[in-house]
């Protein structure tokens, strides 16, 4: 008898005209910009890399303290510290261009005009990126207490402005902090976004009882990590059901089981975020974990698992 070699599971993931060798990626802001984590992981093994958000102009970031641990997670108020798009294109691109793994650029801005300018600059180098992620939801950069993207019309304007400048595959990154996610997602998709990235952090705070002050200099910040996973899962599920569009999921993915939960509710890419801080090679473990699970379950290709959630309603439960 020939021994049956363990068959390779087909982890290929398709979004629009793009093919990723597996669905595992890293969430923006949790893995650096180029290859900062190369001591711990093999970049070639990742499905994709989503770089830290860049803005048109350099941002110094927020005052300290910027992070605080919470139950099963953390709060951050980094404030999108980065050196600006031009510096990124000049100094970071040479390294990124050498990578075999697809790179996703993430952008944020303070005005629609800035988004437009960035999109135009990026269109000129679009071959270097697989996708453009539009970060509409960072809770840490608000002016006067309200993010300028918190209005529906603004989101529509931003998406349109970017679409006018580039045909890059565009993913709109949202957070429930913006308002009704389904409504916003629908608007973004109707006006030019190709898919969604769900979810960015949820705003939270931690009080130091002795100082009666927040442990974060800006009073509140974005909650991430396993603590927010159930919320993220539900938004991915709801949006997949409502729009059947490509979705990058992030929110507390810590191990392969978390990843498989997101796959079952329909996520296309799985972005590991905060867990990278605790387990720098978490992505590598997740890729092998998904593969073993599929093999064990007799699943030959990931698309046979993706979106197979059995709703209680569809099962006829009351």
């Amino acid at each position: 008898m020939k021994k049956t070699a363990a068959k390779k599971v087909d982890l290929t993931t398709k979004i629009k005209n793009l093919t990723f060798k597996n669905p595992v990626t890293v969430a923006s802001g949790t893995f650096g910009t180029t290859t900062e984590m190369e001591s711990f992981i093999d970049y070639d093994k990742l499905g994709a890399v989503i770089a830290k958000t860049v803005t048109l102009y350099a941002r110094p970031g927020n005052p300290m303290p910027r992070i605080c641990e919470t139950a099963s997670g953390m709060i951050n108020a980094i404030g999108l510290q980065n050196k600006g798009l031009d510096e990124f294109l000049e100094n970071k691109m040479p390294k990124i261009r050498k990578q075999k793994t697809p790179w996703v650029i993430s952008i944020a801005a303070e005005t629609t005009e800035e988004f437009s300018v960035m999109a135009k600059k990026l269109d000129a180098v679009k071959k270097d990126f697989a996708m453009l992620e539009v970060n509409l939801s960072c809770p840490n950069v608000e002016k006067g207490g309200a993010s300028f993207v918190k209005k529906q019309e603004t989101i529509i304007d931003i998406i349109k402005a970017i679409r006018d400048q580039t045909d890059m595959v565009m993913m709109a990154k949202l957070s429930p902090e913006l308002g009704d996610v389904i409504e916003i997602a629908g608007n973004a998709l109707r006006h030019g976004a190709d898919g969604l990235s769900l979810i960015n952090t949820l705003r939270g705070m931690v009080v130091d009882v002795y100082k009666r002050r927040s442990r974060i200099a800006r009073d509140s910040g974005g909650l991430s990590g396993p603590a927010i996973k159930p919320v993220a899962l539900r938004y991915v599920y709801d949006c997949k059901k409502a729009f059947n569009c490509p979705i990058i999921a992030s929110g507390g993915i810590r191990d392969w089981k978390d990843a498989v939960e997101f796959l079952i509710v329909g996520a296309d890419l799985l972005a590991v975020g905060t867990s990278n801080f605790v387990t720098p090679n978490a992505t590598m473990q997740i890729i092998t974990g998904i593969e073993s699970f599929c093999r064990e379950q007799g699943i030959q290709k990931l698309d046979d698992l993706r979106g197979t959630f059995q709703s209680a309603q569809s099962l006829g439960c009351k």
């Binding site: 802001g29 650096g32 900062e36 001591s39 711990f40 910027r66 605080c68 139950a71 997670g73």
Partner: protein
């Protein structure tokens, strides 16, 4: 400058109290000692899964060919859980991280100023490199490092205690002022590690007497590898992560050490 870091599950060889203040944790690893110099740190995952969620930074206290020691103080939830770990249990450790203290200095006399959680890396330094003074500040006699732990230190060790129960009564900066007076400010180079208020006081003195030096800053860290941008220090180059650009900074580079 930076050495390659590894992430490894290690088995605890010992984890015991050495005095009223510190516990010593030892484990074996060939990878985690490679290239280690005093001032390097490691990130230890204390919980098995999500509790506590983030790793905790600790300095290397001693590193031989395959054995590592960490000296720690129980300050909160993570370190208190760590103190309950038994010989034979496993912890996940990543290191060596950060940049060590400079061995070459431009002045004649090296003065090490340590307090609290900053004592371990400077004792390590003073065992490896001849230094002129090691000044240690503590609250009281019970917290003074046992003689055995300081046996290999190649420096004159002076103590200060807040309550005067051992050594000079008062803050460690009193000792530093004496040394400055004795040796002359122009001959001294300071290397310091300890609680931020202590280091801020040391740096204020250094500034007053125009003494160069280095401080290993104690910032709460998220990742330890420069990607979360949580442990930032304000330098003349802007906000930089302490874990990868420090934790050892030249006094000149620091604009605001923080609290």
């Amino acid at each position: 400058m930076s050495v390659k870091a590894y992430d490894e599950a290690v088995i605890i060889l010992e984890n015991k109290k050495i005095n009223e203040k510190y516990l010593k944790l030892s484990f074996r690893s060939k990878k985690l000692v490679q290239g280690v110099k005093p001032g390097h740190f490691l990130m230890m995952q204390i919980g098995d899964k999500n509790d506590p969620f983030l790793r905790r930074p600790f300095s290397y206290y001693r590193a031989s060919s395959d054995r590592i020691e960490v000296l720690y103080e129980i300050l909160g939830y993570g370190t208190s859980l760590l103190s309950k770990k038994k010989k034979g249990e496993t912890v996940q450790v990543m290191g060596p991280l950060g940049n060590p203290f400079s061995v070459k200095i431009a002045r004649k006399k090296r003065v090490l100023v340590a307090g609290g959680v900053g004592v371990p890396p400077l004792v390590f330094f003073a065992e490896k490199n001849r230094s002129d003074y090691l000044l240690i500040g503590t609250k009281s006699k019970q917290e003074v490092m046992p003689k055995k732990e300081l046996a290999k230190v190649k420096a004159k060790v002076l103590f200060s205690t807040d309550d005067g129960s051992y050594g000079t009564k008062g803050r460690v900066t009193l000792l530093l002022e004496d040394v400055i007076e004795k040796e002359g400010a122009e001959n001294i180079f300071i290397q310091t590690c300890g609680p931020m208020p202590m280091m801020n006081a040391v740096m204020a003195l250094a500034k007053k007497y125009e003494i160069p030096g280095e401080a290993s800053l104690d910032k709460t860290m998220g990742c330890g590898v420069g990607v979360c941008l949580g442990c930032m220090v304000k330098t003349h180059e802007g906000w930089v992560p302490s874990c990868t650009e420090g934790p050892v900074f030249s006094f000149d580079d620091i604009v605001e050490a923080g609290v």
